[in-house]
């Protein structure tokens, strides 16, 4: 076995170790350690990605001396490598971009605890990506939930505590439902390892009498993950959670945590349930409809928001809707579009969430639109980065958002179902229009001055290397995803071929 095959194990074990280590370090040392460590992780994940592309096949890695069905196992293919690589880049950029606000929002004695949580979350997210065992998925889901609550309450103002309580209740409900689904699946198949579970389920699904149990188990599991990632009827925790957390937390929560859950769901669908079985279940149709609803209702809520962070948060709800719509369309094309949108949204949302507090900072620390007028002129860098993010969200060509919307439309046409094509095209058009309404409107607002509020605030933007680096990296990723989308979609499709 090639030495590179050990890298997924190293990323998980060293991240788990980094958590307690950061507790022992002082705040500033923990910060630097985390930054350097994230860079190492990017290199490791990138190497795994390169190795799987060049060798052309995935590899499994048994965790312990006992092989597959008896022990645990992790697995790495092109898709896992690509996702882990991108997640780590976004993680690094979030920490860098929110650096300045961490020292303002956090008490000095708790900065090292914050980085403890960030490292544990990194470990959990990587495990969610690498895992080949559905129960390991659950365990690391729990760590992700707890760490997300922790990085929310760390700001210690009343609103984040309230948001964290709501977030925790909904997330625990989601975890409970996911566990229930896992238990049901284990009860009918007798396996927790994804490949064995898939074989058992394929056998069971041949008998129509078993379909109701399977669809209930898969359905409960799906609802659990949908609640956790904020699909349409369950998206109301989002604005408070993302809107008031410290920028790094908001960016990590919206662009990585909810995407990690969706990636796990897709992995379970492909590797534990199997597309043939999934086609016999009503689950994907329900996800399709809920995704479409989310695209519209999330955008409508965003339109009504009068606080920039809440608007961006509600637009996350709409984007999650896009991803679930892709899953609902199904097939290779639909899932590829969903994965591509996960990447695109991760890159764009983190850029927006590290930019908005900068704009607020030069507007008297207010996130309200009425005060933000002209903030793009006062802090030109942030204005440009916010504009880039907005254009990508709306779906202007050359940015990532355009490519993903194009992929969704193509995937819908590929299904050959007339009703689906019409629905997808219509809702895509409506949603893009709504996106344009609130994002372009915000862009115009931060570049125009009207009324007397501008006269009150005369601050200048605070230039810092860390933030600019992070924003430039994210912008570059965004442009790369937009201009060279075929490179990524090729890799995604290769990865999906390795899945089955």
């Amino acid at each position: 076995m090639n030495f590179i095959c050990n890298f997924p194990l190293f990323t998980i074990v060293f991240s788990l170790f980094s958590g307690p280590l950061c507790m022992m370090l002082r705040g500033r040392a923990a910060k630097y350690y985390t930054i350097i460590y994230e860079c190492v992780l990017i290199i490791l994940c990138g190497t795994v990605l390169w190795y799987t592309i060049s060798s052309g096949q995935p590899f499994t890695y048994s965790m312990g001396e006992f092989s597959a069905p008896w022990g645990n196992e992790i697995r790495a293919g092109v898709l896992e490598g690509l996702t882990a690589f991108l997640f780590m880049i976004v993680m690094l950029c979030s920490v860098l971009g929110g650096w300045r606000f961490l020292s303002m929002d956090l008490d000095n004695s708790k900065i090292n605890l914050y980085f403890t949580l960030i490292n544990l979350m990194t470990a959990a997210l990587l495990s969610l990506v690498w895992t080949n065992d559905i129960f390991s998925g659950y365990v690391f889901l729990e760590i992700t939930t707890l760490t997300s609550c922790g990085i929310l309450i760390v700001r210690e103002i009343g609103r984040t505590t309230l948001a964290a309580v709501r977030y925790m209740i909904l997330n625990l409900l989601g975890s409970g439902l996911f566990l229930l689904g896992v238990v049901l699946l284990y009860d009918i198949t007798g396996h927790l390892l994804m490949m064995n579970m898939k074989a058992a389920l394929t056998e069971l699904a041949a008998d129509p009498a078993n379909i109701p149990v399977i669809s209930l188990a898969v359905g409960i599991l799906t609802i659990g993950l949908a609640i956790k990632s904020g699909l349409f009827p369950f998206h109301f925790w989002m604005p408070d959670t993302y809107g008031w957390a410290t920028p790094t937390s908001a960016s990590v929560l919206s662009s990585l945590v909810s995407k990690g859950y969706i990636f796990l769901l897709i992995k379970i669908y492909w590797r534990a349930v199997g597309l043939d079985v999934l086609r016999a279940l009503p689950v994907s149709n329900i996800l399709f409809v809920l995704g479409l609803c989310g695209m519209v209702f999330g955008s409508v809520s965003a339109l009504r928001a009068n606080n920039i962070n809440r608007m961006v948060a509600f637009s996350s709800a709409a984007q999650i809707g896009y991803i679930y719509m892709g899953i609902g369309i199904g097939g290779m094309a639909g899932f590829s579009a969903a994965i591509f949108h996960i990447y695109c949204h991760a890159v764009t949302k983190s850029l927006l969430f590290i930019t908005t507090p900068r704009l607020a900072e030069v507007s008297g620390d207010s996130l309200l639109f009425s005060r933000l007028q002209g903030s793009g002129l006062r802090d030109p860098n942030s204005g440009i980065f916010f504009t880039v993010g907005s254009l990508s969200m709306v779906g202007i060509p050359i940015f990532a958002g355009f490519s993903s919307k194009l992929l969704f439309a193509t995937a819908a046409v590929g299904t050959g179902s007339f009703r689906k094509v019409i629905l997808v095209m219509l809702i895509l058009a409506v949603s893009s229009l709504l996106n344009a309404f609130y994002f372009i409107h915000t862009v115009i607002r931060i570049y125009t001055v009207y009324g007397s509020d501008y006269l009150r605030v005369r601050e200048r933007g605070h230039h810092s290397l860390d933030y600019n680096t992070a924003a430039v990296i994210l912008t570059a990723c965004n442009l790369f995803l937009g201009l060279f989308s075929w490179v990524i979609t090729d890799l995604i499709q290769k990865g999906f071929l390795m899945f089955s």
């Binding site: 050990n6 507790m23 008490d107 708790k110 949580l117 544990l120 390991s136 210690e156 069971l204």
Partner: protein, 315 residues
């Protein structure tokens, strides 16, 4: 319509929004000023015509719908789950399910892991990756509670300052209570010995790190309740407990990392299995149990200490 559109373009400033959303803006001002501003805003809003009527009607309608929907969805979920349970394979009957994994654990568990207690063998050897995560779940919970409850400059409000500094924890403590002290003296040795027994015997009998650690944590809590935190601090100061947690988790991660590494690469594992039934058996199970036990005991005492006095160890 036109007015509303203009309001939207300009960014509305509703009174209600100013109460709720300006929280961050007025954060730096003195507390009294903030209170006064808030009260003024609330009064301003209440004085608007028709305010009470609309709020009441909204709340009434909302809560009615809320309760009805909650009850209906709960009943539906219960029904669906009962229906599912009825369709599951029956316990003890022949069914289509593959039981090869369970059979392997029961039949070969002893010889492969060296642990008489199959459950310990399963969670710490066969499926050690899950347990590696699980022990970090506890640590994560401790960190979250520390963030929430540890007293610092941000969450120590000026009006509570007296409570923490002058009255302190001693005021409410049970130290002078004869019943607790006497019972503590009698029970504590038994509790600690029992906890250590469960911890060390995890590979041979029911027990192990999680349960033994919980018993020992209870012992620490009773010590603190009966004899005061000073007594605990004298043998477990903050530095020591932090190093203990750190070293335990580090040992856990690296020991398991070593086993995973050797296992996957087909290298020889140099950890002896020992004679089944002896204290020193089961390979890594005993040291891992001790590590988990220390983390669990520290976590339980940490929760209690954070709730009582807002810190884990003495200053």
């Amino acid at each position: 319509m036109r007015k509303r559109f203009k309001k939207w373009v300009m960014g509305r400033t509703d009174v209600m929004d100013r109460i709720l959303d300006d929280a961050s803006e007025i954060h730096d001002q003195p507390r009294e000023t903030i209170k006064k501003q808030r009260m003024e805003l609330v009064r301003e809003m209440e004085e608007r015509p028709g305010y009470e009527r609309t709020v009441e009607a909204e709340q009434k309608g909302f809560y009615l719908i809320y309760h009805i929907v909650a009850v209906i969805s709960c009943i539906l979920l219960i029904g669906v789950l009962l229906y599912t349970v009825a369709m599951l394979p029956r316990y003890g009957e022949e069914n289509t399910r593959a039981d090869e994994v369970v059979e392997r654990y029961v039949e070969h568990g002893l010889e492969e892991t060296g642990a008489v207690n199959i459950v310990s063998g399963m969670i710490l050897d066969y499926r050690a990756f899950d347990t590696l995560g699980e022990s970090h779940v506890l640590f994560t919970a401790l960190i979250c509670v520390m963030i929430l409850l540890r007293v610092d400059h941000k969450n120590m409000r000026s009006e509570y300052e007296d409570y923490y500094t002058v009255l302190s924890d001693r005021y409410y403590s049970l130290e002078r209570d004869t019943i607790i002290r006497t019972m503590g003296k009698i029970l504590l040795p038994c509790i600690f010995v029992y906890g250590i027994y469960i911890l060390l015997n995890g590979q041979n009998s029911p027990g192990g790190g999680f349960s033994g650690g919980a018993v020992m944590g209870t012992g620490l809590i009773i010590t603190a309740a009966a004899f005061g935190f000073d007594r605990v601090d004298s043998f477990l100061p903050l530095r020591v407990s932090m190093w203990m947690t750190f070293l335990s988790l580090m040992f856990y991660s690296f020991a398991k990392g070593y086993v995973f590494f050797t296992g996957a690469n087909g290298l020889e594992n140099h950890i002896p299995k020992g004679v089944p039934g002896a204290i020193l058996s089961g390979g890594l199970i005993l040291p891992l149990d001790i590590a988990v036990g220390l983390v669990v005991a520290g976590t339980m005492f940490g929760f209690y200490s954070l709730i009582r006095r807002g810190n884990i160890g003495g200053a």
